[in-house]
């Protein structure tokens, strides 16, 4: 969940709650205030009426009241007990032709020893309209305030977090091998400014570390060459010594093989650091088809030795803009893997399609673990000749050209597919 939505979520929930609770509460409160007011009014009217009745009581012309005041009814009471009661009731209004709520005060009074039942009613329709209008207006205002606040907060937060998202975006795109450090824009917010300077210094430190590590790998590999050359030459001289027993010869052979392996390992590490150092920056139009053919020719002996059949299917002429040497290394690594991990008399298929090619081979293992396949020194074979660096190199070369390399296993074929994003 985004930071902004997270912070706004609380606001929204609270606002909706307040809205839901406040509007009915407001409505009922207002209604009860109005009812009280009407009741007081009715009581006052009753007092006024009684005063008037007292003046005209001798003639008892109470029916006239009803002529002038249709809301007042006076009639002799049956019960002789002083009593006031108020209630709300619906009356049919002949003008508006609908039932209208009325507040009624029914009172039994005694005037000059005579008992009267007085009923005073008052229409509530105006009050209800008023209440409804007030509540509506209040609700609308409340909604407007809440929505406005949300929008302002959102807009403001967006603006506030903008430098943060800018920093995040740059961090996301940061590649340690390409940039020295992340240069971040100025911001007026202290925390973000602090964050930015920290990130800048962190990335610049990391890049320095990366450079020195890279330099170390390269230097170490270079420095290894000379002692390796000395070692190898001494082993060769040792071969020339006489007398030589079979036991010695065996030891010397093993030394020589170990030296050869060290040599290859070192060369491969150097190649890796050269790729990292972008020393293959000369690009040209590379034809995948002819490169595959060239390599197939080169590996003819190895193919024959294992009696492998190589099938190449070319769907179209695929060309890419890349370094010829690197593409040869890439395809060479995949082909030599396909040969090395193959079974005697197995097969290798190479399929070249627009912007991608696939090399698949039979093998004596089931599906390989694709997660650690492309990591260095992750050997999934006990073959001593395998360095565990071939696929790492293939991956690096693919990364360099923004190509994707994927491994799949189906129909007992191990397939490596390289797809280039653009030609």
């Amino acid at each position: 969940m985004k930071l902004l939505s997270k912070s706004l979520k609380g606001y929204i929930v609270y606002s909706v709650l307040v809205l839901i609770v406040s509007v009915p509460v407001f409505y009922f409160e207002l209604t009860s205030i109005v009812a009280e007011d009407v009741d007081e009014d009715l009581v006052a009217q009753k007092a006024d009426l009684m005063a008037k009745m007292e003046k005209v009581i001798a003639n008892k012309p109470f029916e006239y009241f009803e002529v002038f005041e249709p809301d007042i009814h006076i009639k002799p009471a049956n019960t002789k007990r002083i009593k006031d009661s108020t209630y709300t009731i619906l009356f049919f209004d002949s003008i508006s032709k609908e039932n209208v709520p009325h507040r009624v005060l029914e009172s039994i009074v005694v005037l000059k020893s005579e008992w009267y039942n007085i009923t005073i009613r008052k229409s509530l329709v105006d009050n209800d309209n008023l209440i409804f209008s007030i509540v509506t207006v209040q609700a609308v205002i409340l909604v407007l305030i809440i929505v406005g606040l949300l929008f302002i907060t959102r807009y403001h937060s967006n603006k506030l977090w903008k430098p943060f998202y800018a920093t995040l975006g740059k961090l996301h795109d940061y590649k340690i091998e390409c940039e020295n450090s992340i240069e971040l824009g100025k911001t007026e917010i202290d925390e973000f400014a602090d964050l930015n300077t920290t990130i800048t210094s962190l990335t610049s430190r990391n890049h320095e570390m990366y450079l020195s590590q890279k330099e170390f790998t390269e230097n170490a590999s270079h420095e290894m060459q000379t002692p390796l050359a000395v070692f190898q030459s001494k082993v060769e001289l040792l071969m020339q010594t006489t007398p030589l027993t079979g036991e010695q010869a065996e030891l010397i052979t093993e030394l020589s093989d170990a030296g050869q392996r060290m040599n290859r390992l070192n060369k491969t590490l150097l190649l890796l650091s050269k790729i990292d150092n972008d020393q293959f920056n000369v690009k040209e139009i590379v034809n995948i088809n002819t490169t595959v053919q060239k390599l197939a020719e080169q590996y003819k002996n190895a193919l024959n030795q294992k009696k492998l059949s190589l099938h190449t299917r070319v769907a179209c002429n695929t060309v890419i803009n890349a370094n010829q040497t690197l593409i040869e290394i890439l395809i060479g690594n995949l082909v030599s893997n396909a040969i090395r991990h193959n079974v005697q008399g197995g097969k290798i298929n190479i399929i070249i399609e627009p912007n991608q090619f696939c090399i698949s081979n039979t093998g004596n293992t089931d599906s390989l673990d694709a997660t650690c396949l492309f990591q260095r020194f992750q050997k999934q074979t006990s073959d001593a000749n395998s360095l565990g660096l071939g696929l790492e190199i293939a991956k690096r070369i693919c990364n360099l050209y923004k190509a994707a390399i994927t491994y799949t296993y189906s129909d007992s074929l191990h397939s490596f597919t390289v797809s280039f994003s653009n030609s």
Partner: protein, 224 residues
């Protein structure tokens, strides 16, 4: 034949000298840039082995001086760097060959022999050894004047052993010589056995003495 080995790593130059002693070479060693310049100015060498990274200067400058003085000897650059740029720069400056460290001494010996053969003025590109005659231009071998039909690989293998005659050439060195980087792919040295078997059979059939000896599975030796 006079050789100059310009190499600051004493153990390596010592190995090279010891190995090449078997051939008819007179080897001198220069351990730094200054000595190398002095020697090349004063003497003529048939071949100079030149390390590029020297403690007091770039070996390529020795090469420049050699070419400026119109020296006729061959130059083989031996470098730990193996950078394509270095290789191109060296070859453009007139070096005959480039060998990256670490290398097999047998490979070095074969390259020196090839450079010297190429540089020979009398145009004689023929190598004679008892009943064997190698025409290094046509890449053919004949026994007592009669041609033997060898494949390209068999010829390369034979010449490689001959230029390292009387010394054991390791299987690793042969594999690398014959197949270059492709050697990585082979799980074993079966292909060497196969080539070797065919070569020996053909040579014996042609009436050549069986000079090639297997040495305890360690390597092979052209014993003469």
């Amino acid at each position: 034949m006079k050789l100059l080995i310009v190499e600051d790593e004493k153990e390596l130059s010592k190995s090279i000298v010891t190995y090449l002693k078997g051939e008819n070479y007179l080897c001198e060693v220069a351990v730094d840039f200054k000595t190398a310049l002095e020697k090349t100015e004063s003497f003529d060498y048939d071949c100079v082995l030149l390390d590029i990274t020297l403690p007091d200067g770039n070996g390529l400058n020795v090469l420049k001086e050699l070419k400026a003085d119109n020296k006729t000897g061959g130059v083989i650059i031996i470098s730990a760097k193996n950078l394509i740029d270095d290789r191109i720069a060296g070859l453009n400056l007139g070096a005959d060959d480039y060998l990256a460290k670490p290398f097999h001494l047998s490979e070095l010996s074969a390259r020196i022999a090839a450079v010297i053969r190429r540089r020979r003025f009398d145009g004689n590109k023929v190598l004679e050894l008892n009943e064997l005659t190698f025409d290094t231009l046509a890449k053919t071998v004949s026994v007592n004047g009669k041609g033997v039909d060898l494949t390209r690989k068999e010829y390369d293998l034979f010449l490689y052993l001959v230029t390292n005659k009387n010394r054991v050439v390791s299987k690793n060195a042969i594999a690398e010589h014959l197949s270059g980087d492709e050697a990585d792919v082979f799980d074993n040295f079966d292909f060497i056995y196969a080539h070797m078997k065919n070569l020996k059979k053909k040579m014996v059939l042609a009436g050549c003495e069986d000079y090639i000896k297997s040495i305890y599975g360690m390597g092979y030796k052209f014993d003469i």
